[in-house]
Symmetry: C2
Subunit: 393 residues, 2 copies
């Protein structure tokens, strides 16, 4: 087990009706709010108005910036920074899923910074301060509501890049599972895939003596897979929605990765897909993760045997571990299919003519290795994209 530091300061307020506490929590951090959100759904359902009302009732002034979209764009972040400076807001409240929150995080660190906000994402600067951020979560998936990270897409070259700093952790997050009742099945499934990937990126480690967090990761995966089909079949099942929402937060609040080296190659490989083709991140991950597994399992077969046996209850073949491993990967694919997600590029109707280009971008022309379970160069990443095509092609 590696040495680690763990501290999770985000105040999570969870349950029915908690969005009505937005004003009460926000006023602990200032008087003027930039309310950042995405598209029409939040407006149409009246959620935005309820949040604005809660803020105004608590005596706060509200400046609005809508328009955050999946794979949130740098241009809108820059617009938000300008607006926040001009209006001299004290804090930001993001209403939505990972896109609105990631966008708000970028605005938060951009406001007090003299240079251009892309500097952080380009590795040219480190964020030392941020406007305080609060969250009203509507999509359980990214875990951004209590994580210190953010992924932004730069339209100039369609670069999708993540950045994280402790100052970016939200100060408070309001999680009402009822707000997810209206999430369509596909979006619910994409969220589930994303949170499972967050756990698996931590689970697949070469670090030893991490039994406690192994068990927690496995438990979280099993629980999510138990609840997901219920939430999809019964969209207003509070229990299933609540367990998924809470799991999505824990999947990515750092707890499950403590003392472990983490991987994150699959996320980076996926980012190229969703940057180019605007496929949902969760659907990209359900394609990339099984392919990654098939490519890397020989680096540590016993970990993949453990995954198959403990997460999927695969009957272990003690003499032929590979059978157990491949059955585990197969069951992961079966689960993704069951909840309506693709596991090949063909199923997602993504063409295969730019695999080489994506492999180059993901590894910056073979100058960066991806991941730590098995550090991957450009040729490895290309091979994984090829595995994403599926066996039948």
């Amino acid at each position: 087990m590696l040495n680690f530091t763990f501290s999770n300061v985000t105040k999570i307020i969870f349950g029915r009706g908690v969005e009505e506490q937005t004003g009460k929590e926000a006023k602990l951090w200032g008087k003027k709010v930039l309310l950042h959100y995405g598209g029409g759904h939040i407006v149409r359902t009246g959620l935005k108005d309820r949040v604005v009302e809660s803020l105004r009732e608590a005596g706060l002034e509200v400046v609005e910036l809508g328009g955050a979209q999946p794979n949130p764009r740098l241009s809108l972040v820059r617009e938000g920074i300008e607006l926040a400076r001009k209006e001299k807001v004290d804090l930001i409240v993001a209403v939505g899923g990972g896109s609105a929150i990631d966008s708000a995080k970028a605005i938060g660190i951009g406001v007090p910074y003299e240079g251009d906000v892309w500097d952080f994402y380009a590795g040219k600067a480190k964020a030392e301060e941020s406007l305080p951020l609060g969250v009203v979560l509507t999509i359980p998936a990214a875990g951004s509501e209590s994580s210190p990270s953010s992924v932004i897409t730069n339209e100039d070259g369609w670069l999708k890049v993540g950045y994280g700093a402790l100052v970016m952790r939200p100060k408070f997050a309001l999680l009402n599972p009822e707000l997810t009742f209206t999430l369509p099945a596909y979006q619910t499934a994409c969220g589930v895939s994303d949170m499972m990937a967050h756990i698996m990126e931590r689970y697949f480690t070469q670090e030893g003596d991490v039994g406690f967090s192994d068990h927690l990761c496995e438990a979280a995966l099993r629980s999510i897979m138990q609840e997901a089909p219920i939430a999809i079949a019964e969209p207003e099942n509070y229990g299933a929605r609540a367990n998924i929402m809470w799991a999505g937060t824990i999947a990515h609040n750092d707890l499950l990765g403590m003392g472990r080296s983490e991987d994150w190659a699959s996320h980076n490989i996926e980012h190229e897909l969703s940057a180019l083709y605007d496929i949902a991140h969760g659907a990209g991950l359900s394609i990339v993760f099984p392919a990654w597994m098939k490519y890397v399992y020989k680096q540590n077969p016993q970990r993949f045997v453990q995954f198959a046996v403990r997460v999927f209850g695969v009957e272990q073949d003690f003499h032929k571990p590979e059978r157990t491993i491949l059955e585990g990967i197969r069951r992961l694919e079966d689960f993704f299919h069951r909840i309506g997600l693709p596991t090949t590029l063909a199923e997602a109707e993504i063409p295969v003519d730019r695999l080489q280009e994506m492999a180059e971008k993901a590894t910056a022309g073979d100058t960066q290795k991806l991941g730590s379970f098995m550090p991957l160069g450009q040729a490895d990443v290309l091979a994984i994209y090829e595995l994403c095509q599926g066996e039948t092609r």
Copy 2:
């Protein structure tokens, strides 16, 4: 799932050698430290000197108060409050296990309070502020290093009472598993029993739709039971010690109880035992918990079936759930025996002539119900003490 608020602000710094960071962390909170610790072991091993050196090197003044003992005493707490006031310390650093930390927490809330510190424990006052507290943990057990609670024994009547308030959560906690290499087998086992009880007090709930935290609780229990015999057989096994230490923190940092009604009857029933007979808390719990289970399982047999199947892998008897349940309890007892703990009063050489008196004290003369899984009156608690005698008596 119940609505909840979760925020865990304690900064956990975990790994080899982290006690050397005491000064660096402490100086974020002030200039003069009350160093509170227990007995000879911490002095003899040189740990106390190393911590003092770290504090002095960081430019802090140190005032010492040793003498914290198992079931920490109110008289020492009062002495600590006097000393802290006289010396005008800015913060407290506790070095030790739950006793030193609980004692330090009581001192922390006592210093800024005008009345007597026992008021908090007697339910007459609520703690609104505390001196900041840092911890160097040497015994994984109580989880006090990141919990907001403290248990103190008032020698006047040997009342052992718990109190908790958010201001009591330590600001930082330094957890070096190597410091636990010298823990004797029995103390290691008592710590394991204590952390398992912290999980089970949360696990046995009547609340529905808590599948995610069910799975986390079960995973934590299985992991602790996997590591404990290793740590006992190989006291210097870093991996086993590290997993147990980290599990002990998570077992009691509130995470595993979120959205659930918790029980805590067994802890209260045990407190009477250790207050009267000065048995280690963990050994008291290994006696009380199985007896409590036998008395209450009929209130929700399916939860006990789940416990037996998922935690102990009991082959389920679908037609006779009671067989599955009793086998689960039996395996818990077997585990406690395996790590050298008693599961009956006779094994612990505790006389049975004051069971009625303890039942009266635990329920304040039958005016207070204990627990929520099955609220227990005086007669119930007496029956559980009688079950603690064991079947062979």
